[in-house]
Amino acid sequence: MIEPHIIVQKIEDALPGADVDVEDLTGTKDHYKARIVAEQFDGKNRVARHRLIYDALSEEMKGPIHALTLEVFTPEEWERRSS
């Protein structure tokens, strides 16, 4: 188990300026969904983007986080999607 704000903090530390939204999917604080909008994703493919997040959460992924669904966008992609 891990508190969602810790996940947010770790990602924001790794990707300064990122917009991070974390959702507890099961209410059990171990299955999360994270939506991350970050300019650091620009020019990176999906695997590379996910790796950035996994690297930021490397310790947590070994235990406290059982499942993490990721949605990753650049600010431009996110704007296009929302409009």
């Binding site: 999906r46 695997v47 996910h50 790796r51 996994y54 490397s58 992924m61 070994k62 499942a67 993490l68 669904t69 990721l70 949605e71």
Partner: protein
Amino acid sequence: MSDEKKKSISLPITGTEPSASSDGPKTRADGGDALSEIEKVVNDHEIVIYMKGIPQQPMCGFSARAAAILASYGKPFQAVDVLQDPAIRQGIKEFSNWPTIPQVYIDGEFVGGSDILMEMHENNELAPLIDEAFAG
């Protein structure tokens, strides 16, 4: 060894000295280690999924989803149940430097986990990749 390697990915394999008869990746039954076996399986099949459970009886929602997406393309794919094999369960994470399961490989290349597979499926990016793997 008579098996032909279709494609080699450059991955340092520690602890396995190639024998005189074979310089490719080997299964553990043939004296390789888990990473070598993974490399061989990934190279020998057009599509491979490392998952929890089997496609007919997945043991995890993410594995179920990824296997169902692959099955929808109607091409054969190799499914490896990591729950039956602790060395492979750990080894696959090192092989791809990717901490989660399922993991999907097409044409010898790591494609991603269930989120990425779903996105590629929805964006019609998966069909050309699979077609190309079977055309080659």
